[in-house]
Amino acid sequence: MAFLKQYISEIYQAVSSLLKGMKTTGSYFVRPKEIITQQYPDNRADMKIPERFRGEVVMTHDENNEHACTGCTACELACPNATIKIVTKFDTTPEGKKKKALDTFVYHLELCTMCNLCVEACPTSAIKMAQTFEHSVYDRSQLLKKLNKPGSKLRAGVE
């Protein structure tokens, strides 16, 4: 009879454990408030991206179309993937001296891993990470970006 007793208690425990599991899923079934789905393209307006989110590298320009990049290539050296290529030119200062300055800030988004090392390395805080994340394009060449706006120049006083 001990065998029978064990047999029945086994079945009882098995069934009760199964019912407990069903209670969990069943309780979610009747509580639609628990649904956590975000309907992505629809909720774009009220989506909150944290300000530290690393989406892509951008260069900040002020209202006078001036940036703070001196073309020192610290970011280029810091980058592990050769994402950044800085093309420099020589400006002539009002005193007539030749001075190295930024010509184009080439940024390969397709190689970038958003590691933030370039932003950390920048001595003048000229670049920062933007919060964009929708990077998909139809052609890879569109991911090659020039970060300094056309006609922009170095902000006065930035060394």
């Binding site: 199964l18 069903m22 628990e34």
Partner: protein, 358 residues
């Protein structure tokens, strides 16, 4: 009162009055054919959508909600997609059997429809050995599955088909014993008689605890017979990718998929007929008013309500439990369900003979 029985009766009368008997019979056949085909299509659409919605709610998701209002047309879109897919046949496959298998599964599913009473007087063929017929025909689908697995020339398919074969035949036994216990109580194999015997109450309630045990065993066994989780070893995707239908694509896959859902509907319909009184409304003792209100609900709604409740139960299982291992699956049947159902049948017999049921 709205009733399907009146519609079928009057349409039949009209047919035989208007045409001579041969043409009337042919027309009747065509109408039945169209009805079952559309039933198949509608059931497929509704059940797949229901499964996805139920799963989503249990998994704290929204589920399909893009195609049509609240995602209602999602399965229609899926069907269209499957139609647009190319149906591949592997080079090494046994082409004849490979293409035959989905037909076998579909025919098996369709044939079981015959004795099911969808509503009062709404039955294709009230065969006098209805219950036996159902359990006989339902095992035909295993041939289709074995055929599909064997013909695919794929190792996963073969293993899946073998598992499925062993599983379906094993669980048919305990399902059979549960069905027999109701036959003992009702004293007839005919579906309409079984339903009629539940005039005063459903067997689930009238048969005391043994009837409830029989019901539980029936539900477990049919879950296994339809290859549903937690018994979905034939298509256990984490082990055998997709089991017996690994190589099927396009419309042939859709037919297997549809047949799975049709089978669920059928076994739940039989469960509802045997244990929950089919289209019989719920009557409680001497509450005259209550019983009267219940009578006003059309019998087809009663039937569908009960069936869909059972379907929901089976879906609930699927989205809660992990899958059994193949040896555990068989030991569950042979060491637990079969001995219990045999013993249970003896108890039911005792109850039937002594007239202890309500």
């Amino acid at each position: 009162m709205f009733s399907l029985e009146n519609i079928t009766d009057s349409s039949q009368k009209w047919l035989y009055a208007t045409f001579n008997s041969t043409i009337a019979l042919v027309l009747q056949c065509v109408i039945v054919m169209l009805l079952v085909i559309s039933l198949f299509a509608v059931l497929g659409l509704v059940l797949v959508l229901m499964e996805r919605k139920v799963a989503a709610r249990m998994q704290i998701r929204l589920g399909p909600n893009r195609v049509g209002p609240k995602g209602m047309l999602q399965t229609a879109a899926d069907t269209l997609k499957l139609m647009m897919k190319e149906g591949l046949t592997p080079d090494g496959a046994d082409k004849f059997l490979f293409n035959l298998a989905p037909f076998v599964v579909m025919i098996a599913g369709m044939l079981i429809m015959a004795p099911i009473a969808f509503a009062k007087g709404f039955q294709i063929w009230d065969i006098n050995i209805g219950v036996l017929y159902v359990s006989a025909v339902s095992s035909v689908s295993v041939i289709g599955i074995l055929m599909a697995g064997w013909a695919s020339n794929n190792k996963y398919s073969l293993l899946g088909a073998m598992r499925s074969g062993a599983q379906i035949v094993s669980y048919e036994l305990s399902a059979g014993f549960s069905i027999v216990s109701i036959v003992v109580l009702a004293g007839s194999l005919q579906m309409s008689d079984i339903i009629a015997s539940q005039q005063t109450g459903w067997w689930l309630f009238r048969g005391h605890i043994p009837a409830i045990i029989a019901f539980v065993i029936f539900i477990i066994a049919v879950t296994a017979e339809t290859n549903r989780a937690p018994f979905d070893l034939a298509e256990a995707e984490s082990e055998l990718t997709a089991g017996f239908h690994t190589e099927y694509s396009g419309m042939k896959f859709a037919l297997f998929f549809l047949a799975e859902y049709i089978n669920i509907f059928i076994v739940c319909a039989i469960g509802a007929t045997l244990f929950l009184g089919g289209w019989m409304p719920l009557h409680v003792g001497h509450w005259k008013g209550f019983n009267h209100v219940m009578d006003y609900i059309p019998s087809s709604l009663w039937f569908l309500g009960k069936t869909f409740f059972l379907i929901f139960l089976i879906m609930w299982f699927r989205w809660t439990f992990p899958r059994l291992r193949v040896d555990q699956l068989l030991s569950l049947e042979w060491k637990y369900l079969l001995p219990i159902s045999m013993f249970n049948l003896l108890l039911i017999t005792l109850i039937a003979i002594m007239g202890w049921h309500f």
